[in-house]
Symmetry: C2
Subunit: 128 residues, 2 copies
DNA sequence: CTATTATATGATTTCTTCATGATGATGTCA
DNA sequence: TGACATCATCATGAAGAAATCATATAATAG
């Protein structure tokens, strides 16, 4: 459902959201606590900074902090950075523009609606 | 959600289930109609034969037919052949053995339950 | 028996995702 | 200033999924 990378990103952001906001979190600390390969995580963090969800600070007492309130960042915001969200619009057998004629449509649509609503309404302060 | 290969397999099986059962379906015909690379499909078909869902016949008037009634083959039966179904048991952030303590568990579980029930109760005669 | 029609299958290539290692750049503090 | 801490970036590699190529094998028709 989610790519490994998206999962890593959500875990990392969630961890930061659950920490003392006055203390930057080290990339190495995240890596250790969450079991994410350090260098790989480093790139993920960088993308999160560039996208404006985190702020990074180098040097002593550096690390990562949230760039905005955790309750203002949805799970979906993070997911779209790391995976193609079009797949959530597809019908069961991968048809992007299913007009409802496929036999599964009526049953499949509500399941995906639930999922989309789930990632849309939940913010990262609920992750931990 | 589903791997490309699983989607191909379901489309192929669904197509056969919707065809005249007295006439074997050619692999080349499936490939054309469903837009699946021929040689790749050939291997998928072979796995379906080995697993007992299809019967194959070579030579003139050969092709593939269902080995048993379409209403006796669930979508899940096909899926498990082509992807690891464990991922459907995971909690939202990939934790296989989430004890319910994660913040998302209560919301996530019913969504996955719906999905699992969906693939379990629907048979391939409903695919077309 | 042989030409034709099909499926079967192994080897190889390509693409993407995930991961690692080494090095560069920058901020802090004594 | 200089040592160190920390993020940033580059370049490479490993693994799996997807796709392709080439060829083998089998059944049928005539």
């Amino acid at each position: 459902m989610l790519s490994q990378t998206a999962i890593y990103a959500l875990r990392a952001v969630g961890f930061i959201a659950g920490s003392d906001p006055t203390r930057p979190i080290l990339s190495s600390h995240l890596s250790e606590q969450l079991g994410i390969p350090q260098n790989y995580l480093s790139k993920i963090m960088h993308r999160l900074v560039q996208a404006g969800f985190l702020k990074s600070k180098r040097g002593t007492r550096g690390g990562f902090v949230l760039a905005r309130s955790a309750s203002k960042i949805t799970i979906k915001d993070i997911i779209v950075l790391f995976m193609n969200i079009d797949q959530f619009e597809q019908c069961f057998l991968g048809n992007v523009k299913c007009d409802g004629s496929c036999g599964m449509h009526a049953q499949w649509k509500p399941i995906m609606s639930e999922f989309k609503s789930f990632i849309n309404k939940n913010t990262i302060d609920k992750l931990f």
